[in-house]
């Protein structure tokens, strides 16, 4: 038990790191998750852990947090060797971690959640003292949150603040954040970055796990790049470019500016006329949406999540009823038709929730590749599925879309996120396509796969397909779009031509600020 609960006695010599991991190795039954990784972090530093999905970032962090015990290697905290048998040991040392999935009790308030998660002395819980301490923490770091609100009343972004406060409340010196921006809207992420800078200036060390290069450049002082469980390098952020980081992360050159051919747009293929729909709660979610999508055109819907994009997607695809207005495909009225008849008309979709709405994870890769096509020849022959044809077709899909799977019979749930998306692409980007509705097609994917997805979308555009792209990622929107429609509270506020669009004006519109109000 050496090292636990030792007070800080070592003086800060010039190059003492707050935490050092030396030659850390962690094995799982099938994989080597961390292979002799060296990692060092200073006080008052924001240090990014960068890598693709499955590179071992989270595993490394969980080792530092005492959740996993590495097979080999040492962890030094304040220059002393420590053994972390459980997260409790880490918390006693002053290491806190915010996971991707929060551990909060929904019916309880913020304060109650924080008191519950920490050690307390005595029989009674002292809420007022906690509240005072929390308030001073909020003031110190400029966090704005209602401490008496119940967790279920808070947005996901606010819940993350609760998790961060919980860690700060225990007096952390090192805070680990695992992909914190994955659940945040762009403005929320900016707010988080500002607070992280405050924490840094107070002397906290922060490990920031991400696979987004832009965030690394924006927030970190140094960055450690992992690839397939090995450390590639640790560099000062200001000494590298995004391209160099991408190269380290993926192991090959990644094209950021995809060549977008000049394609003249064709005839209107999808028209939405005064479309209205309600949300699951029965509130108005879409208000008189008017959009026209042409062949060979990419029309983007920009907006912060929850402004009606989900409902728009679902109404076009046919799984949500329109309460008024029309959906017209190729001149024919398809309002409130069944999803199957809309799909048969040549409308494909990529759902934002790949596992929940796009795939059957219990099915094999092969079975997922013809989901939705099972009734149509040549997949069906008479009463039965044509297994021979399907097998050949699935094999073709796998090689054409470069899906990494041991076989067509592999259970889909074992595939990585990028490969799941490729299964969906392989299925949806078929020959007779007229319109592709892509909802967050690159969310949560690695740069390499994002590049691939974008190339596929542009290829479709070249082939004459009209693409409606719903995205929260403005970079993606600016890379791909011909026109950009900004959506706010169920309305389309404005439609820009991509060449004339400016990031600032779109950002303001996304927050609902129209020209009139701002002047």
């Amino acid at each position: 038990m050496e090292g636990n609960k030792h007070p800080e006695t070592t003086p800060d010599t010039e190059e003492t790191y707050l935490l050092e991991a030396v030659q850390l190795t962690k094995r799982f039954p099938m994989v080597l998750a961390n292979d002799k990784v060296d990692f060092k972090i200073r006080r008052g530093e924001i240090h990014c852990l960068l890598g693709e999905n499955g590179a071992g970032k989270t595993t490394l962090a969980e080792c530092l947090y005492g959740f996993y015990k590495p097979e080999e290697g040492d962890i030094r905290f304040n220059g002393r060797c420590v053994t972390l048998s459980s997260p409790n040991d880490a918390i006693h040392l002053g290491i806190g971690m915010v996971h991707q999935h929060f551990v909060l009790v929904e019916p309880l308030s913020v304060i109650e959640n924080i008191v519950m998660g920490t050690d307390h002395k005595g029989v009674l819980l002292d809420f007022s003292a906690t509240e005072k301490k929390l308030q001073s923490l909020c003031e110190l770091y400029d966090v704005n949150i209602d401490l008496n609100a119940k967790i279920w009343q808070l947005s996901v972004g606010e819940q993350q603040w609760v998790e961060i406060l919980k860690a700060l409340y225990t007096g952390v010196k090192l805070l680990i954040l695992d992909e914190p921006t994955a659940v945040l809207t762009p403005p929320e992420a900016d707010r988080l970055f500002a607070v992280l800078q405050r924490m840094k200036s107070e002397g906290l060390a922060i490990i920031f796990i991400t696979h987004r290069l832009k965030e690394v450049m924006q927030v970190s002082d140094r960055v450690t790049v992992l690839q397939k469980g090995r450390k590639v390098a640790t560099v000062n952020t200001k000494d590298v470019t995004t391209e160099e980081l991408a190269y380290m992360m993926v192991g090959r050159k990644v094209v950021f500016r995809i060549n977008k051919d000049e394609v003249t747009r064709g005839d209107p293929v999808l028209q939405l006329n005064d479309l209205m729909a309600k949300s699951d709660m029965g509130l108005e979610a879409l208000h008189e949406i008017n959009l026209t999508l042409h062949n060979s055109e990419i029309l983007s819907i920009a907006g912060v999540a929850g402004n009606g994009q989900k409902e728009l997607f679902e109404v076009i695809v046919g799984v949500r009823k329109a309460t008024a207005g029309k959906v017209i495909i190729d001149g024919k009225d398809f309002t409130n038709h069944s999803p199957r008849s809309i799909a048969n008309e040549g409308i494909s979709h990529i759902p934002d929730d790949r596992i929940g709405a796009g795939l059957i994870s219990d099915f094999s890769v092969e079975e997922n590749l013809f989901l939705g096509l099972e009734d149509n020849p040549p997949y069906r022959k008479g009463l039965f599925l044509d297994k021979k044809y399907i097998q050949k077709y699935a094999g073709d899909c796998i090689s054409k879309f470069d899906i990494m799977t041991p076989s067509v019979n592999q259970r889909t749930s074992y595939l990585s996120g990028g490969n799941l998306q490729k299964v969906i692409l392989a299925r949806e980007l078929r020959q007779s396509l007229k319109v592709l509705i892509a909802n967050q097609p690159s969310r949560g994917l690695d740069v390499g796969v994002i590049e691939y997805v974008h190339k596929q979308i542009l290829e479709m555009r070249r082939n004459g397909v009209g693409i409606l792209l719903i995205s929260e990622d403005l970079d993606e929107i600016f890379t791909l779009s011909d026109r950009i429609a900004v959506m706010f509270k169920g309305r389309i506020l404005k439609i820009f031509n991509a060449q004339e669009a400016e990031l600032e004006s779109i950002g303001l519109l996304m927050a609902g600020i129209t020209d009139k109000e701002s002047q």
Binding site: R340, G356, G358, S361, F363, L371, R380, F384, L385
Partner: protein
């Protein structure tokens, strides 16, 4: 340190068939050991009891055929469960649909009584399938159009059918055998009997129907667009909806087939074994079918051995009871023990036990 802290269960990715078989053998041995304690408490010799159980089930050709005869309705009610549960449609209506099938078969028999066996028997089978299917479909319609929970509608349906049959067989009921003291119909005429497959045994046509049905259900589930859609719906209804699978149709058709299969079980018992419609035509074949289906891992082919195992337990326990004098209640207890061990084994094969990492 507590010893149990060091043992961890990890989910296994795939279970190989050998491991599966081994698990079943181990489970059966465990069940025998536990049962032995009970038999011992009843002052009988466990070894003798098991020998008699086995002899009663498979001791000679006749016993073995009778075991298959007992398995016949269980195969069908098991299949009825498999097809519904594969779509996560939790139908508990097999017992009621079993009786509906018997009622429908009997009804068809009364209408077409005079026909020769070669036409009468197919008509009875068809009528039984349709009535059972109709009962299942009602639950399906209620689910599809009014979102009535299938568990509730089918369990309630079981009561309705039960009381309907009681009425038909009551003192003033139209089907009561005139002058009979018992709630039962008059015996069925011989031209409606399901033909027996072997001389001197009760095993009848229903067994062949059951085997054929399990092949058909296998084909439906694995080789037709409908079965594919049903499985897709069962695994992820949201994705199924997004990909345009007609969910209402799936629920209604599935419940139609499920009810029909259970109905065939009922008519087989009536025209192949009992030859009279009585309220005790089923000692719970519908519910046991659910157990059989679970044991088979919802595999339509696996239902056959699972049903035979149960048929053997039912059939063999009679001789065990007679030979050793253990009470009747104990035989049901032994059946339950076998079931629990097999189900636990099935769950446990999905995990591997690992020693947890050594914590200092």
């Amino acid at each position: 340190m507590k010893p149990f802290e060091k043992i961890k269960f990890e989910k296994r990715e795939d279970v190989n068939p050998l491991g599966r078989t081994l698990a079943i053998v181990v489970a059966l041995i465990a069940a025998m050991l536990v049962s032995a304690i009970l038999i011992n408490l009843a002052n009988a010799s466990p070894v003798e009891a098991f020998i008699n159980l086995f002899k009663g089930a498979f001791g000679n050709k006749r016993a073995a055929l009778e075991t298959l005869n007992k398995a016949t309705p269980l195969i069908l009610t098991g299949l009825a469960t498999v097809i519904a549960f594969r779509g996560k449609i939790w139908s508990i209506g097999q017992e009621g649909q079993f009786f509906l099938g018997a009622i429908g078969g009997y009804w068809a028999y009364r209408i077409f009584e005079g026909l020769p066996a070669a036409t009468l028997v197919p008509i009875i089978i068809f009528g039984a399938f349709l009535t059972g299917a109709f009962g299942g479909m009602l639950a399906g319609l209620l689910k599809a159009y009014f979102n009535v929970d299938v568990i509730i509608s089918t369990v309630m349906g079981n009561y309705i059918i039960d009381y309907f049959l009681s009425f038909m067989l009551s003192g003033s009921g139209p089907w009561r055998e005139p002058g009979s003291y018992y709630q039962q119909t008059a015996p069925i005429a011989e031209n409606a009997f399901f033909p027996v497959l072997f001389a001197n045994a009760r095993l009848h046509l229903g067994f062949l129907i059951a085997i054929a049905c399990s092949m058909i259900v296998y084909l439906i589930l694995n080789h037709t667009p409908f079965g594919y859609q049903l499985r897709a719906f069962g695994s992820n209804p949201r994705a199924a909806k997004f990909k345009g699978i007609n969910i209402n149709k799936i629920i209604i058709v599935t419940m139609f087939i499920s009810g029909g299969l259970a109905g065939l079980a009922g008519t087989g018992e009536l025209f192949g074994v009992q030859y009279r419609l009585r309220p005790d035509l089923s000692p719970g074949y519908g519910y046991t079918g659910i157990i059989v289906a679970m044991l088979a891992g919802l595999n339509p082919i696996g239902v056959i051995p699972a049903a035979i195992l149960f048929g053997a337990l039912i059939n063999g326990s009679a001789q065990m009871r007679i030979a050793t004098g253990i009470p009747t209640a104990l035989t049901s207890a032994i059946q339950a023990i076998v079931l629990l061990s097999l189900l636990s084994a099935q769950v446990l094969t999905r995990f591997r036990v690992r020693r947890a990492e050594h914590a200092e």
